[in-house]
Amino acid sequence: MQLKKITFKINSKEITIEVDVRESLLDVLRNKLHMTGVKKGCSVGECGACTVLIDNVAFDTCIYLAVWADGKEIRTIEGEAKEGKLSKVQQSFLDEAAVQCGFCTPGFVMSTTEMLESGKVFSKEQIKKELSGHMCRCTGYHNIMLAAEKALQPANKHGSECHGKCHK
């Protein structure tokens, strides 16, 4: 067994931890740091359920060696709500009922968060493309699209009064 000590920031908190070189970041997050919001789906980078932001870019943690996280800044779904208040993206997913079983939701939320923070304006087609690395087995994607569109629409256009009706 080959161990390596790595230091990284997880949801703004710096930690140092010894990882096995054979471990994926996904397994370290779930099994050692108990961040079970990071879901283990396909393990081959196809379903997107294990998506987190590494230095603010979306990655599948199942095909990312844990040792590569050394020196990086990682954000998972656990760190998105601040002082009990959901993030804008989380709130949109709630408002639009973009959740059924919830397994894919953390991944979708993290990718949508990356888009939101890029400051870019996304068309419906672009949102679809940006979320195409995620699979959902039960919502039919419709509400997920509504939630992402709602989270990504410019704040001054509709404000908080929209309740998702404006893009129907």
Partner: protein, 292 residues
């Protein structure tokens, strides 16, 4: 846990080469989107990995004084498609690599890995064939360069010794200046799929009606990515007409040698070769400033 028996991390190219020399059975890992999946699926065992994941000098896009574009082999697909140099001078390469997998795969997968796997379906490869890209390879004896068309030796086989590393991809100005291009990937679905056929056309226009230069490259139309040199020869110098478009499709058909796989039959691929060559040519001509 992955079936890894040893893991070493190189901090620079020289160190990576030294590690490769010292470990004849080691495998290089860059982005990991192919190697880790192979390990997961049991197609690779007891891996001794040498990671070049964090080597900064392998990542990035830049331009030399003479206009040559240099792409580091460790540059991720998303960094390539978002790079201003790519967007301004070789947008078709950005479009091609923007069709690999899904966004998270494009954030981790590298262009070097895409080429070194030696597969004919690599989205970046056909476009690099059209650009006559030159590959820089570093080994214990120094640096050598090889044209991409000579790099591919057969399915999964490339001109790379165990101790060597593909470090950079060069595209010289005479191979991109004045060209308009278009890449079409045909797959069963838009995302997370491997090309059933990939087709890229580059066009340079004389005046607005005449083809000064034409290049047509295909992926999955033969065991390795290929150029349709006979078609290119026939089209060069001609005036753009509907008949000429038909000619591109018909002549390209005679040059390819696709196979039947579980993804698609040979017949279907032949149909794709004809149709996509025509469509790519038409759009590339337009993108180069041509008018019908």
């Amino acid at each position: 846990m992955y079936d890894i028996i040893a893991y070493e991390e190189a901090s620079c190219i020289e160190e990576a080469i030294k590690l490769l020399v010292a470990n004849p059975n080691a495998t290089l890992i860059s982005g990991g989107s192919d190697v880790l999946i192979k390990l997961h699926e049991g197609r690779m065992h007891d891996a001794h990995l040498i990671s070049i994941h964090g080597i900064k000098e392998l990542s990035g896009v830049s331009m030399l004084e003479d206009g040559t574009i240099v792409i580091g082999s460790g540059t991720s697909f998303s960094k390539i498609s978002k790079h201003p140099i790519v967007q301004q001078f070789i947008p078709v390469l950005g479009e091609a690599v923007d069709m690999v997998g899904g966004p998270q795969i494009r954030n981790i997968g590298t262009i070097g890995g895409n080429i070194c796997n030696g597969v004919t379906s690599a989205d970046s490869a056909s476009t690099l064939f059209a650009f006559n890209a030159r590959l820089e390879i570093q080994g214990p004896d120094g640096v050598r360069t090889v044209l991409i068309k000579e790099f591919y030796k057969g399915p999964g086989k490339v001109d790379l010794q165990h101790e060597e590393i593909l470090t950079a991809i060069f595209i010289t100005p005479d191979n991109y200046r004045g060209y308009g291009g278009h890449y079409i990937k045909y797959a069963m679905r838009n995302a997370m799929d491997i090309a059933t056929l990939g087709c890229v056309a580059l066009c340079k226009v004389k005046g607005i009606h005449q083809i000064e230069d034409f290049r047509l490259a295909l992926g999955v139309a033969a065991p390795v990515p290929m150029r349709c040199t006979e078609t290119e020869r026939l089209i060069k110098g001609e005036f753009f007409t509907e008949e000429l478009i038909e000619k591109v499709g018909k002549t390209a058909l005679k040059e390819v040698n696709p196979r039947t796989s579980w993804r698609a039959s040979k017949d279907f691929r032949l149909q794709l070769v004809e149709e996509l060559s025509k469509r790519a040519f038409r759009q590339a001509f337009k993108n180069a400033g041509g008018e019908q």
